[in-house]
Symmetry: C2
Subunit: 374 residues, 2 copies
């Protein structure tokens, strides 16, 4: 093979060949690296079970060049057309809490929108619940998301009808950021009638999906999508849910990940609160009755204030910290010089500067960068 692929290319290929969240694939990628796993599949020598990885999607004898032409080139052109970026583990925008998923962590995430996913997700809560929500449930979701927005918390949800949409809308209306984790591709507005809502979410927040472009939102993808909603945020709040409800799968994932899991009670006469009552009673989920309680429960699990106030800078990765140390206090330095001092490539240094900029730690002046004063 004359051409070679890097980790990013390999993950893009694998995400098209394999089902999202397949733990057998995730395990092998963690053991051998994505490049090896992709090459094994192309060579027809993959030890993955038939149920996992590229099941029938990669014809025997496909060459690397053929694969790049068939799967990578169209993806890259769609990405640039719809303004989406592929974020992979270890990169600046990767939310490291997703690594808690272990073998079930996504291979990568397609992200579209103005927000920086990792920074936004530092203070984030998932608000989930029934599609066929009641007026009561939508009211509770709206008040919660508005409170989160006003207090600098990201509202994470799934873009569906009912509770999801009420939460996204209220976050946007309150001038806050919201992340919508889609079950299909980020280029596939789903549900279709939420195309406008999704467009508005992109303006200050992000659309997120591990599914390849064009992937339809199918039932099994909703369930695997829910683990990302749960893992991305510090806590999950179930606002309304029938006894059988997708929201309960998000609760289950969040509990497995040791996140703070909460539910709002409701009238016992409403079937849409019955699922909330079940998880409160039988699954040890916290009963919450106000947005303030939600935030204080989650903050109760965050490092306490008397250990020193935790600043955004404490959450930075090693690349960002190194870049921050390389940015001069006064006279602006150009990207190239900062990257050299930090010992990083231009792309990584640029991505780190973007994050530091978003955090208000550095500022661009002319062609260079300095630390931001106060």
């Amino acid at each position: 093979m004359g051409r070679v692929i890097d980790d990013r290319d390999a993950r893009m290929l694998l995400s098209q060949w394999c089902e999202a969240g397949d733990r057998a694939v995730g395990h092998r990628v963690r053991e051998r690296g994505a490049v090896v796993v992709a090459e094994e599949i192309l060579a027809g020598s993959s030890p993955l079970p038939a149920s996992a990885g590229a099941a029938g999607r990669v014809p025997a004898g496909t060459s690397l060049d053929q694969a790049l032409a068939r799967w990578l080139a169209p993806t890259q052109s769609t990405a640039s057309r719809c303004g989406a970026r592929y974020v992979i583990p270890g990169e600046g925008e990767w939310p490291t809490q997703l690594d808690d998923l272990g073998d079930g962590a996504p291979l990568g995430l397609w992200v579209a929108g103005a927000g920086n996913l990792r920074l936004l997700a530092l203070r984030s809560l998932s608000v989930v619940g029934a599609r066929s929500a009641t007026a009561y449930g939508e009211l509770v979701a709206r008040e919660l998301a508005a409170h989160l927005a006003e207090n600098g918390w990201l509202t994470v949800s799934g873009g569906a009808f009912g509770i999801d949409a009420a939460a996204h809308r209220a976050a946007v209306a309150a001038g806050g950021a919201t992340a919508c984790v889609l079950a299909g591709g980020v280029d596939v507005p789903y549900p279709r009638s939420h195309a406008d809502l999704l467009a508005r979410i992109r303006e200050s927040g992000v659309l997120v999906s591990e599914a390849p472009f064009g992937a339809a939102a199918m039932r099994h993808r909703f369930l695997s999508r829910n683990r990302i909603i749960a893992a991305l945020s510090r806590g999950t709040v179930l606002v309304e849910a029938a006894v059988r409800s997708g929201g309960r799968s998000t609760v289950r994932e969040a509990r497995l990940l040791n996140r703070v899991v909460m539910a709002f009670p409701g009238p016992v006469t409403s079937p849409m609160s019955a699922g909330c009552h079940v998880v409160i009673r039988d699954e040890g989920v916290h009963l919450v009755t106000s947005p303030r309680e939600v935030v204080s429960l989650v903050e109760g699990r965050m490092p306490p204030a008397d250990e020193g106030r935790r600043e955004p800078v404490d959450e930075l990765g090693w690349r960002e910290k190194r870049v921050l140390d390389s940015v001069p206090v006064r006279s602006p330095a150009p990207l190239g010089s900062i990257a050299r001092i930090a010992g990083l490539g231009l792309t990584d240094a640029m991505s780190a500067l973007g994050m530091l900029d978003a955090l208000g730690l550095v500022e661009r002046r002319g062609d260079g960068w300095t630390l931001r004063r106060e």
Copy 2:
């Protein structure tokens, strides 16, 4: 002193001299007997603290004859006028679970109504909650009390507006028995506008109070009354309650007594459910969402079916068991002969026969009694 008083007389006197539920009085009565305590008070030699027992109500130098004339005779005449009986510990109608209150057990209970308090309370649940209940709370209370009535459970409550009244009314409407534990005397309809409801409760159930005749329903009496509601029943259900609410004191008493304590959740937008949410979250109270759950939680704490089905006869006191053993299978025996065989006085034997009759274990035939077939 020429005349003597018995335990019953002494308790009637003490209940007029001392505040209901005074533990210092209760302790001394358990230690020395009610007769001694009453005699000590009359003699001005009572070691009870000034705060307890007859504080200023019994003038120094009151003779026993004066006391009987002033306190006992009017009580007995009111009792016969309003058809109330005084039930004391050890008697056939005394609900032995009240002994769980220890020094705080009532000295005696005034009972008015067709039901046998002890038998009714064998399968009983307290349904309590806010006076200013919402339509939602009253609906929940009604459905719960109706279900209890249909399944042979006594609904215990306090006769107040709101949840109490909804529960009593639904129990009566469903043809079930209900017990109303009053804070004032059983001869004082309180609230006044519930006079009709209280009259209907007497027809198949009972009015109960430890307060002497004529006692007004005052704040401190509501709180001490609540311990009787909690102790009388196997479990307490809080249907609706504000954060500050009398119903929460009943919950507290029931928890101290190790009864099953339950609460219904409601909309978080309703202040009348906020107290329920607090006790569920902070006081380990069971969240319940249906009458069926309530009954199965309480039955889960009763002896399991596989230890042999528990019959009413298992709950009988020694007097009733002895009388039951003395009743012939075929030819009816008169009361006198049954009492002699059982080794009991006529009154005790009669009271035991009444209870056995109510339980369907014996039947009257002509002037005598036999065991009931099947």
